[in-house]
């Protein structure tokens, strides 16, 4: 924490680029819980999550000079981009040996008391549309729009053929457009 202003992950990556081990530990302390939570929301298997995280932080250590040299900011977005792809890679490796247990799909949400309050705050057309979207369509949107994965990577992550991913993306787009118009 010493000498670093809060929120300065970019500066930490620049220090890691110079081989600063303390900066690496600090970056890990700051970003690993967030990354773990986010990855666990996409993969129920903690072993795979651990594998993806190890690979991600090793990649950060190796590639920090390249990131710092490129001079573009947003270290956190960079970390997530690496992590999402490492998770897909972990899935791929696992698939070769054993079939991946599919992540349990969230059951259709019944509006709870808290959700009703949220509806008053966030309850816009897009939120409504997203909530009404079938869970398997939403998964595809999440992987492709939020996580920035390609069709092929999404297919690996969700364990469905590429064609299915494309169809679902199209159906999701149509459903969202219908809900928003």
């Amino acid at each position: 924490m010493v000498g670093v202003t809060p929120g300065d992950e970019d500066e930490l990556v620049r220090r890691i680029a110079r081989g600063d081990g303390a900066a690496f530990d600090e970056l890990y302390r700051r970003t690993a819980p967030w990354l773990a939570v986010r990855l666990r929301r996409r993969c129920a298997d903690d072993d795979l999550v651990a594998e993806a995280m190890q690979e991600t932080y090793l990649a950060i250590w190796r590639a920090a000079p390249a990131f710092a040299g490129a001079g573009s900011g947003d270290a956190v977005g960079w970390i997530w981009t690496i992590a999402a792809r490492r998770l897909v890679d972990a899935f791929r490796r696992r698939e070769r040996t054993t079939p991946v247990p599919l992540t349990a799909l969230p059951e259709a949400t019944v509006p709870a008391a808290e959700d009703l309050i949220v509806d008053a705050v966030v309850g816009d057309a897009l939120g409504e549309a997203l909530r009404l979207l079938a869970p398997e369509l939403r998964e595809v949107l999440q992987a492709m729009v939020l996580d920035g994965l390609t069709v092929r990577e999404t297919a690996v992550l969700l364990g469905v053929p590429e064609g299915t991913v494309k169809t679902r993306a199209r159906r999701a787009r149509i459903a969202l457009r219908a809900a928003l118009s």
Binding site: R40, Q54, R62, A66, V76, L130, L133, Q142, L146
Partner: protein, 276 residues
């Protein structure tokens, strides 16, 4: 982060997000994820919330232990600075040793010329004879799979093509032509006699390279020049007619004609033919 958001995620949502599971409405989960990416404060709060989950703590500890073991002997990528990128877009990787060879050859030619002038021989100037093909040593590696370990990557890059080859050729000429000019002045040879042939050979090598590969084209042209012009001139001790200042218009015409062919077939420098 430079742009600190003014609104933050409510503690209840953050707790439910950290807990995983399907309890969170998807739009809220998405909004939280996007927000967390830009807000260090909420990431810290999330870390506190996640810290209460023994499974996450165990996971973080496991990954950290693994990293402590791996990091000390993990190789690192070199930094890609802007200057390095600029240099890489102008200079072929194997160029430096070849420029040194070119310099040594030209220096040797200067030495021999000076010695032969001292001794009163009437041999034609070696600098003049070698000048037209001197850049070919460097130009040969401007587009070559054998000399460039990253050649396949280069071919696949957006900059690949005649544009890149010309850049690398210009980089060679910028070094070689002033060097030749100095060498020529040292032995009393005017650039007017060799400059146009020099450009003609460079363009010719590039154009021929589109057909047989640049390295082969450069080698072939240099050998042909050595056999047809250099050797006879040295044997007969008479300067070649091809390097007479009167032949300049011919060389200019050849250069222009070859340049037209070069541009017309430029797509050859954007593909990866086997065995070149």
């Amino acid at each position: 982060m430079s742009r600190a958001p003014s609104r933050h995620v409510a503690a209840t949502w953050l707790r439910r997000y950290a807990g995983g599971g399907p309890g969170l409405p998807p739009d809220v989960a998405w909004a939280i994820e996007v927000h967390l990416e830009v807000c260090a404060r909420c990431r810290a709060r999330l870390a506190d919330a996640a810290g209460r989950d023994p499974a996450i703590n165990a996971l973080l500890g496991r990954v950290h232990a693994h990293l402590q073991a791996e990091i000390p002997h993990s190789p690192r990528m070199p930094a890609t600075t802007r200057r390095r990128a600029t240099v890489a877009s102008w200079i072929a990787p194997a160029l430096l040793p070849r420029l040194i060879v070119t310099a040594l050859v030209v220096l040797t030619a200067v030495g021999l010329d000076l010695v032969s002038a001292e001794a009163g021989h009437r041999l034609p100037s070696l600098v003049l004879l070698l000048a037209p093909v001197a850049p070919l040593v460097g130009v040969a590696v401007a587009w070559s799979s054998g000399q460039d370990p990253a050649h396949e990557l280069v071919v696949a890059s957006p900059r690949a093509g005649l544009n890149l080859v010309l850049r690398r050729t210009v980089a060679v000429l910028i070094v070689v032509i002033p060097g030749l000019t100095l060498a020529g002045l040292a032995v009393g040879t005017s650039p007017a006699r060799w400059l146009v042939p020099c450009l003609a050979f460079t363009t010719g090598a590039l154009a021929l390279g589109e057909v047989v590969g640049l390295h082969r084209a450069a080698t072939g042209l240099a050998l042909a020049w050595a056999v047809i012009v250099v050797a006879p001139s040295l044997i007969t001790a008479r300067p070649s007619l091809l390097l007479d200042s009167g032949t300049s218009p011919v060389w200019v015409a050849v250069t222009v004609g070859v340049a037209v062919v070069l541009v017309a077939r430029r797509s050859a420098y954007a593909s990866l033919p086997s065995g070149r």
